[in-house]
Structures are given as structure tokens and as C-alpha cells.
Symmetry: C4
Subunit: 268 residues, 4 copies
């Protein structure tokens, strides 16, 4: 039996990880080429074989990491992510699961966990998410309430924008992204002229909420960027100051010692 530590050593070796990155990129290209049916036909299944080989390499790498880390493998979110996106290929993509064939390409997202620089960026992005929960919930609440209202009020407007709650939510998500809302609004206003109030209020409120979502992210980014630099300058200054203060105190103390000595001399 090979010791776990040795397997870990191989898997975490810089060369091995670079090899995996190369395999991911090649696999990304073959998966891209496979989308072209002409290309698929011309290569007589060669692309498919390349894909299988890449999948095999990933499976072996994951098994090695699983063996190397034992059950602690599952405590690392990136490892679980790798396992999931590779594992999709093992589910038979037939019948109702045929959409899974298309999901195979998610495997290429492993690049995010394999390249350290991208890993850092993704971690930073995800770190901003919890701070957004409250505003995101508020935004969903606003869309939901507006969706129920719009379904009840504009159900009979032609265009299929507000036929049922699901359609209304989709249409309101569309309006929130600011895309094509005049078409929707003008279609509704032909039937209910007063409807402009609904649209103007909804756009102002949802834009304001989205804006605050953005600001939360920006302030977050600021705290990582600007503030860090400034606090550093501040700390450097504080350290300089403290050093200069220490020098002063020492000067005064030595003076005091001298005066004390003088006094002692005199008393003698």
C-alpha cells in the first residue's frame, strides 16, 4: 500500500498541477470543437476519444486526491466542486437526462480551482456574497409583490408578459435589468393607461435597490483596496510617532536620572 502522504506529494506537486491545467485547456478546446457537427463527423470520433481520455485523467487525479486526503477531502469546498463538475459525466445522459450532456462542459470551470490567480479572484467575489443577502432578499420581495400585483392587474394584456405569476416574475426581472421595458409598458398602457405609475415606481424602486446592491459590493472592494493602503500609511506614521515619542521619553528620563544624581551628590 502506497502511503497517503506520498500520493498527496505527487498530486500537490507543481508539475502535476500544471499538467492538469494543460489537460483542462485541451479538454475545453475539444469540447468546443465537438459543438460543430461537421467537425465531429470529420474527426471520426477522435474528439470524443480525447474527451474520454481527459475525463479519465481527471478521475484518476480525483481518486488520488481522495486517497491522499481521506475524508478531509470533503471539507475543502474547491475539492467538492471539482468532484461535482467531473462527476456529471458519469451520469448516463439519456432520456430525460439528455440535458446533462450539455452540462459536461462545466468541467472546464475546474480552471477556476486549478489556477491560483483565478482561485483568488473567485474567492474574493464569493466573499462579497454574504454581505448582499439582506438586500438580495429585499429585492426578491419587491419583485414577488410586484409580480402578484402585475398578474392580477395586467393578466389580460396581449403580449404574454403577465399571463401567470412565473411569466410576470420573468418580465419583472427583465424590467429590472432595464431591458425592453418600454415595449412592455406601452403594450400594457394601451389597455390600462394609468399603468405608467406601476412601471415608473417599480423601475425607480428596483433600480435604487440594485444600485445599493452594487454599492455594497463597491464598499466591500474599497475596504479591501483603498482602506488597506491608507491604514498602512496611518500605521507607518503611528509607528514613526511612537519611535520619536520613545526617544523623547528616554531623553527626559536620562535628564531626570542626572538631576537625581545631582541631588544625591549634594545631599551627600
Amino acid at each position: 500500500m502506497i502511503p497517503r502522504k506520498q500520493v498527496r506529494g505527487v498530486v500537490e506537486h507543481k508539475r502535476f498541477q500544471q499538467f492538469i491545467i494543460v489537460v483542462i485547456i485541451i479538454n475545453a478546446i475539444t469540447l468546443g470543437l465537438e459543438t460543430s457537427q461537421k467537425m465531429s463527423a470529420e474527426t471520426h470520433g477522435l474528439l470524443h476519444v480525447a474527451d474520454r481520455i481527459a475525463l479519465g485523467i481527471f478521475a484518476v487525479e480525483l481518486l488520488m486526491r481522495l486517497y491522499g486526503h481521506g475524508w478531509r477531502f470533503f471539507t475543502d469546498a474547491w475539492s467538492v466542486f471539482d468532484l461535482l463538475v467531473v462527476g456529471i459525466a458519469l451520469v448516463p445522459a439519456t432520456g430525460p437526462f439528455s440535458v446533462l450532456r450539455a452540462l459536461r462542459v462545466l468541467r472546464v470551470l475546474r480552471l477556476m480551482s486549478a489556477v491560483p490567480a483565478m482561485r483568488r479572484v473567485v474567492s474574493a467575489l464569493l466573499a462579497a456574497v454574504p454581505g448582499l443577502a439582506a438586500i438580495a432578499a429585499l429585492l426578491f420581495l419587491v419583485i414577488y409583490v410586484a409580480g402578484v400585483m402585475a398578474t392580477q392587474m395586467f393578466r389580460h394584456v396581449p403580449g404574454g408578459y403577465f399571463d401567470d405569476l412565473g411569466t410576470s416574475l420573468f418580465t419583472l426581472f427583465q424590467i429590472m435589468t432595464g431591458e425592453g421595458w418600454p415595449d412592455v409598458a406601452r403594450a400594457v398602457m394601451k389597455v390600462t393607461p394609468i399603468a405608467w405609475i406601476f412601471f415608473v415606481v417599480y423601475i425607480v424602486v428596483s433600480t435604487f435597490a440594485v444600485l445599493n446592491l452594487f454599492i455594497a459590493v463597491i464598499v466591500n472592494g474599497m475596504e479591501r483596496g483603498v482602506t488597506e493602503e491608507m491604514v498602512e500609511a496611518e500605521e507607518k506614521h503611528a509607528a514613526d510617532q511612537a519611535a520619536s515619542d520613545r526617544m523623547l521619553i528616554e531623553e527626559v528620563r536620562s535628564l531626570r536620572l542626572m538631576v537625581e544624581e545631582m541631588r544625591a551628590e549634594r545631599t551627600r
Copy 2:
């Protein structure tokens, strides 16, 4: 007669408030399901009954809060908000007021006042509003002036974009959101080729004003976020400095005392 304090105790109890939150969420779901006419028919009015029960619970809760706080109930903006959105259901939604049926779902917005985290977010959003009044007024002035001008100049352009002042204001609001303006501009320019000046100037000016509206909100958010952290660091530094200064002064003072004593000793 039950003492007011005791009623307040019940209403403000954590369990009671969690119960209200659950009722709001259930009510949100039933109101959503009610929008589906098929679902409404199949449940034989069960959804309607659930809605009535939720409304009853809200009414009782509000009466208890009203009794518990007395007239001070109306000094709390959130309480008044709760009263209004629940009260909508009491107005008979028939004839000209049938739109009020759709407004019943506003009741779900009570979630904003019931969940403390959302309450904080909404308060923060509203706190930014007064600082925006001057720019918002400026923006309205720009839209109004452009609206009057556009109505006079482009009234006869087909497409119904500038038929009267109301339509013009709506179209200019649409252009301000940056949505579909080329369609409007090209329609107008077919009749009045020089009109591109109006649209380019209006877009640049209104975008610039909206941008400054956004910046006012961002600067606001910054002041809550970044600045706080920095001022904290600054204050910590200042406190350290002051402590170190106090130490120095004490040293010098004790030195002075010593010299004074020496002098006194000698005079003796």
C-alpha cells in the same frame, strides 16, 4: 381590563414576532397561488379562507399593538406602514376600487418591518433619500423643460412619442433610463433631421445628472462603510498618541517637581 404593559410584552415577545413572520410568508404564498385561476378553482376557495385567516391575525396583532402603545403607535413610521398595508384589505374592492384587490399583496411588504435585518437595510436606503432631494428636483426640472420643448417641436411625429405633455414626460423618462432611445430618435429625425441635437444634449445632461444622483448615494454608502473604519483607525492612533503624550508630560512634571524641591532644599 388587561394592563397595556402586559399586552406590549406579548406583542414584542420574540416568539410572537417569529409567528407573525411565518404568517406573512404563508400569506405571501397563498396570495401567489391565488393568481393562478386554475389553482383557485381547484382549491374551492381554500386559498381565500387562508388569506382571510392571515388578515384576521394581522388585524388582531395591530389592535393589540394599538392598545399596547396607545396614541404613540402613530409616532412610529413602521407601525403606520403596517396599519396602511393591512388596512387596504378593509376597503371594499368593488367598482372603481377593484384595483385595490391587487394592492392587497402589499401586505407582504410587512416582512420588511418584521425581519430586523431587512428593517436595517430599508432604513439605510431611506436614510440616503433626503440627500438626493436637490439632484432629484434638478432632474425633474430638466425632464419637465425637455418635455415641454419636445411636445412643441415633435408633436406631429408619428409613433405617439410626444403627442402631449404626459406622453412626452413618459418618453423622456424612458430615454433617461437609456432604453429604446434610438427608435424614438430615428422616428423623430425622419421628420426633423436636426433633432439629433436635442437627443444627444438631453442624454448627456440627464445621464450626467443621474450619475451624480448615483454618486451621492455611493458617497453616502462610503461614509457609512470605508470612512467609519478609517476614522476608527485614526482615533485609535490619536488615543495612543494622547496616552504617550500624557506619559511625557507626567515625566516632565515629575522632573520639574524634583528641580523645584532641589531649589527649595538649597534655599533652605
Copy 3:
């Protein structure tokens, strides 16, 4: 002859300025109502009379200010602005100048100079403009170069997007605002499939330039908002520090004086 100082006193009196604000608002409403031809007809020219009266009041006010301040009137940008927007009404709006009728409503923009809060906002907005000159010039250069290229390459594409340099510049301004660019791009790509490179590069470059224009404005706003507050905190800290330092120096000096006196006493 009434002394100039007295006329200035009347014009600058708070009551007088409030009266002018009210006249501007009433004039804004009458100008708005005048856009409705039905309303104009029903009021038998009453609206027109109201407009003439408002114009008269403005003329008298401006003459008083001109008399009160003499030629220095023209050194104040706001005064010249007031004079221009009111003066438009005096040009006969007939024949080729009929568009000037529509420009009469610009007079309502006097609200910006009459209400102090709006005046501050507009001044702040305009203060940001000079800092944007270099990026705006760069943006114009990019649009111009792209416009000449697009006219030469896509002149024969149906849709009238790039027929001549003027049309191309307008279309590229439209694409820069991110509005309806897929329609343009798909129309061009039907004739020249490779054209996607032009559009993607242009969108990335112009968005990046516009983004930096925005950032320049934001940084500007920051410097007025955040920085001010922080510099204030910093300065307060510095002042505290300086005061504490002065105290220390005085302590040390008085100590020195004491020692000097001791020395003098001994020498005696």
C-alpha cells in the same frame, strides 16, 4: 434718480427672490398647459396673457439687477444665464426662427439660479466638468476615428446606419450608450461577417473610456464627500496633537527657566 444700492437692496431681498421663484413656478405650469392645444383654445388666450405677465416681471427684475449692479452684472455667469433664457422670448419666433418658440420654456431653468440649494448642486456638477475634458476629448477622438472607418467599410450595408460620416457618428454614439447595438451589428454582419471584431473592440474600448469618465466624476465626488470628512478628522487630530505638543514645550521651557534661575542664583 434712485440710488443703485437701494435697487440692489430690493432685488436681493429674500421676499423679492421668493416672489420670483413663485412666478417661475407659475410660468412653468402655464407653459406646460399651453402645450395642450385643447387647453389653449378653452382658456381663450388666458394662458398666453399669464405668460406675457411673467415675462414682464422677469424683464423688470433683470433691468433692476442690471441697473443695480451696472456692468458688473455681466461678470456673474448666473446673471448672464438669466438674461439669455429670458431674452429668447424677445426674438420674433417666426419663419426660420419658429423653433425659438419651443425654446421659451428654457426660461423655467431660471429655477436653478433662483433656488440656492439647486444653485449649489448645479455649481458642483459644473465644477466636475473641467477635470473631464481630456477623457471627453479622447472619447470624441475614438468615436471620430471609428466613424470614418465604419463609413468606409459599411457604407453599403442596408439600414441607413453608416450612410455618411454624420450618420455613422450618430450610430456610434448610440452603440456607446449600449442601446440597440445588436440590431446594428447583426445587420452589418449579414454583409460583412467579420464585422463582429469592429463592434466588440469598439464596445470594449468605448465602455472602458466612458467608465473612466464616470470614475473621474466619482473620484471628484469622493474628494468633496469622503475625503473632506476624513481630512477634517485628521486635522482635528493634528490640532489636538499640536496643542498637546505646545503644552509639553511650555512645560519644558518653564523647567529650563527654573534651572537657569537656579544656576544664576548659585553663581551669585
Copy 4:
């Protein structure tokens, strides 16, 4: 043989550089006028002659700079840029290279390197680019993966949005800019109703990534703008502090000297 230093002196002379700027601007205008075929015909090739003269002046200037700086000419990115955009005109623009005719106008971009203020702005913009590499790579990865998935899932949807990988990538770039995505989504949802999940997830993820790209640029701009000013204030404060500290130390030292002298006097 003229000495290199003298040639450099001429080329770098303020007057010479202003002359080049004027030639660039005139050339920009003639290139713009040339796009009008009517104008080209009426001037009987005069515009073409002006263009040739401008090109000649640029060629002479570049040769002088090349001679003046020797091979170090190629170490300056701006010089290489100038050489490239002028050099385009020397490639015969016939047959497959006819598109190069349109690229001649890129020569006008020399204004960016010739006007110092624009040079600074462009340098600042480019300085922000390296910091964006990781997020830009992430964004490309997301678009690529989504492109492969969309091609496999939505290939047969009419509208030509996802016919092959290239088309899919273009459509997804379009959706990322937030333009016209409801048209695409509704077309796809008619065939695959569940497709809304794909679009909503893609829009949220790509908007979030683009937002972070923007924030990286903003934080960058901040560090150049706000932070600089603050660090300056901080440094000024630190310098004041240090000066005041130096004074204190000198006072204490002179005091010490005095005490030492006193002590020495007494020992004598």
C-alpha cells in the same frame, strides 16, 4: 552628416510638435471629408493630395526620430505605435487588403501620443489593464463554458442566435452587455420553456463579474485620486509632527546640557 543630437533637438522642439499636432488635425478633417463621395468628386482629388502631404510629413518626422534616437526608438511604446499607424498607409490597399484603406484613419489616433494631456489619460487607462487580467480571464471562461452549453442545448432554436460556437459567443457577449436579451430568451423559451434558468443564472453571474471588473478599475482610480490626497494630508501632518518633536527634543537636550554644565560647575 548631421549629428543625432541636433536632429533630436529639432524633433522634440515644442514648435515642431505643435506643427505635427496641427497636421494630424488637418489630416483628420480631410480623411473625414473623403468619406463623402460627393465631396471627393468635387475637390478633384485635392483631398487625396492633402492626405499624401500629411503622410509625407509624418514619414519625415518618423525618420528623423528614428535617426535621432537610433535603435532606442523601438524601446518607446508610443514611438512604435506611431510607426505602426503611419505604416499602414504604405501597405498596398488592393485585393484582399482593401480593408486597410479604412484603417488609414487610425493614423489620427497619433493625437493621443502627440498631445501630452491625452497621453497621460491613455497611460492611466492602460495602467489599470494588468490588474484586470484575472477577472477578464474569468469572464472569458464563463462566456466560453456558457457558449458551449448554449450551442448544445439551443442549436435548433430559430433566430440564428446559437447556430454554432462562434454565434453563441457573440450572442452571449450581447447578453452580457445587457442588450436585447429578452428577445433572445423569449425566442429560446418558446422551444425550451425551462431555459429561463440558463439566462437568469448567466445574467446574474456575468453582471456580477463585470461589476467586479468595474470595481477593480474604480478602486484603481481611487488609489490614484482620493488616497493620494489623503496620504498627502497624512504626510504633511506627520512632517509637522516630526518638526514639533524635533523642537521638543532640542529643548530637552539643551536643558540637559545646562544641567550637565551646572553639575560640572559644581564638581569644580
